[in-house]
């Protein structure tokens, strides 16, 4: 979870700055936060009261930008580009990185074609350089590139900000984990018990055999 440790301090900085600002200067902080190379989490900033107050003002588009970076993808931006301010190159890069995290939420194997389409990348070299330099070396994902199968196998992906509707499915997954783990523990205990029993039986059987050998020896 080092990505969380790395950005914890940054989040704190931006939150404390946002709390004391209004209007245009607050909008600048939002642009700065969504451009920062090491920040990939925006919920905390979103929950600052003064940020929510941007709603309905001339700066509400920056609130939309922040929501986009918290939960959206590059495709979302493109389909709403008309109502959002133009993004700077650093913001575009970040939104594409966040898009990879969103894709990794649903699948552990990401086809190149899907990635190239989602990230507006035209060739494999450019896609792989992006995944290597901007994702794996940035520490937000870990995985392996498979050129023959043209896919990216994700081993680890940093978590993105959660939308409220995601909590339910998370709880569901955790409950399943819990049940599976308990069942696993139970079956391991049964196996241990079975092994012990078999061990005892084996010992008893071996003892009977030895006694019978002794008897035969005596008889002889």
């Amino acid at each position: 979870m080092d990505i969380e440790q790395k950005q914890a301090e940054l989040i704190e900085q931006f939150v404390s700055r946002a709390e004391n600002l209004r209007g245009g200067s607050l909008a600048n902080v939002i642009v700065e936060a969504t451009s920062h190379p090491s920040l990939f989490a925006f919920s905390e900033i979103l929950s600052v009261p003064s940020v929510a107050e941007l709603q309905g003002t001339e700066y509400s588009v920056y609130l939309d930008v922040l929501r986009l970076f918290a939960h959206g993808t590059w495709s979302d931006y493109k389909s709403n580009a008309g109502s959002l301010p133009p993004l700077q190159p650093d913001q575009v890069l970040k939104l594409k990185q966040l898009s990879v995290l969103t894709l990794a939420e649903t699948d552990k194997v990401l086809p190149y074609d899907q990635l190239m389409q989602q990230l507006d990348v035209s060739n494999v070299r450019e896609l792989e350089d992006f995944l290597i330099n901007e994702c794996m070396y940035a520490g937000i994902v870990r995985g392996k590139l498979d050129q023959l199968r043209r896919c990216f196998e994700v081993q680890f992906a940093a978590g993105r900000d959660l939308r409220p509707e995601q909590i339910g499915s998370m709880l569901q997954t955790l409950t399943t984990w819990l049940n599976t783990s308990e069942n696993l523990l139970l079956s391991i205990q049964e196996k241990i018990k079975w092994a012990d029993t078999m061990g005892e039986l084996d010992k008893k059987h071996r003892k009977e055999i030895e006694e019978r050998v002794e008897d035969v020896k005596k008889t002889l």
Binding site: R125, L145, Q147, L148, F156
Partner: protein, 325 residues
């Protein structure tokens, strides 16, 4: 003997002032340090051996220099003169470096860079010289062939916070983190070893040699039997190992583009590394693809993944505990 010795030293001095290093060394080599009428004292012998070695090294003649450094090695341990022993250390590091025993050279440069005293006898040691020794240690480690010992030295250097101030640090960081070095970075590193660096890599200890030619530039330019320079080879091998951490398989075409070299070159070095068991994998020449294999077996990888999952779960629980949840 006495007069001959004086004349030789005088002639050597003249040759040295004309920068005819090997001639000066040969002149001094003619002094019979072992036999002769009067027994020369150990310190005199040691200083001559080191001086002759240094002169040969000025002409990058590691073979002759090593002869005299080996003689000096019998004398240096008993010598009370720290100046001489430091000069001996630098010569020895240079000889190892010239002989491309980069890892041994790196360890000795690193040892030199850790000198604590800033004054030895009547000589001052300046920070810049120590920094050059540290930089030389990093450069040699990077040029050394990949392997567990090199990884250990890389880790030591990476954790030495003095290194973070070196110009070469970004390269050290990427090499340590096993990250691919792109062509511009390699060219920049190569530039670092160019002539202007000769003076900079000079170990400008006043007690050491007034001018010591770095042989990195020779190393870097020296062509190996397979027509690669030392630097080329070190960088390509490093990048291949870094790529093997990122790819399950890759075509040589793409690999060549990624590493900034011809696909045939990539294939040639990859095949040698696989044969030398310095990289796990197989080459499909029909498809022109290299398949990288993980050093760890699948089941072990599974274990590692489960371990890191449990670790991550622990982190979450610790985080919750910290926040009183």
């Amino acid at each position: 003997e006495e007069q001959v010795l004086v004349i030789r030293e005088k002639l050597a001095e003249l040759y040295e002032s004309e920068q005819q290093w090997s001639k000066a060394a040969q002149m001094l080599s003619g002094i019979d340090l072992d036999a002769g009428i009067r027994m020369l004292d150990e310190t005199y012998k040691l200083s001559k051996c080191v001086q002759i070695a240094r002169l040969y090294l000025e002409d990058d003649d590691a073979v002759n220099a090593e002869v005299f450094i080996n003689k000096a090695s019998f004398l240096v341990s008993n010598s009370p003169h720290e100046v001489l022993s430091l000069q001996y250390k630098v010569c020895y590091a240079r000889i190892l470096d010239l002989k491309r025993k980069f890892l041994e050279a790196a360890l000795r440069y690193y040892d030199i860079s850790q000198i604590e005293k800033r004054q030895i006898e009547d000589e001052l040691i300046d920070e810049e010289a120590l920094e050059q020794a540290l930089s030389a240690a990093v450069t040699c480690t990077i040029l050394a062939a990949a392997g567990p010992q090199r990884s250990r030295v890389l880790a030591t250097l990476y954790k030495d916070e003095r290194c973070s101030k070196l110009k070469i640090y970004p390269i050290l960081q990427k090499v340590y983190l096993e990250r691919i070095l792109r062509k511009p970075e390699i060219d920049a590193f190569s530039e670092e070893l160019k002539p202007h660096q000769v003076t900079n890599i000079v170990l400008t200890f006043q007690i050491l040699f007034s001018r010591m030619k770095s042989n990195f530039i020779l190393q870097q330019k020296a062509l190996l039997p397979d027509n690669f320079t030392v630097l080329d080879r070190a960088m390509i091998e490093h990048n291949l190992l870094s790529a093997s951490k990122l790819y399950t398989n890759i075509s040589f075409e793409e690999l060549g583009t990624l590493l900034g070299i011809a696909p045939q070159k990539a294939e040639k070095i990859a095949s040698r590394m696989i044969c030398e068991d310095r990289m796990r994998g197989s080459i499909d020449q029909v498809e022109a693809v290299i398949h990288f294999e993980d050093v760890t077996e699948e089941l072990q990888q599974w274990d590692h993944q489960i371990v890191s999952l449990c670790q991550a779960l622990n982190d979450v629980l610790d985080g919750m505990a910290k926040k009183g949840l």
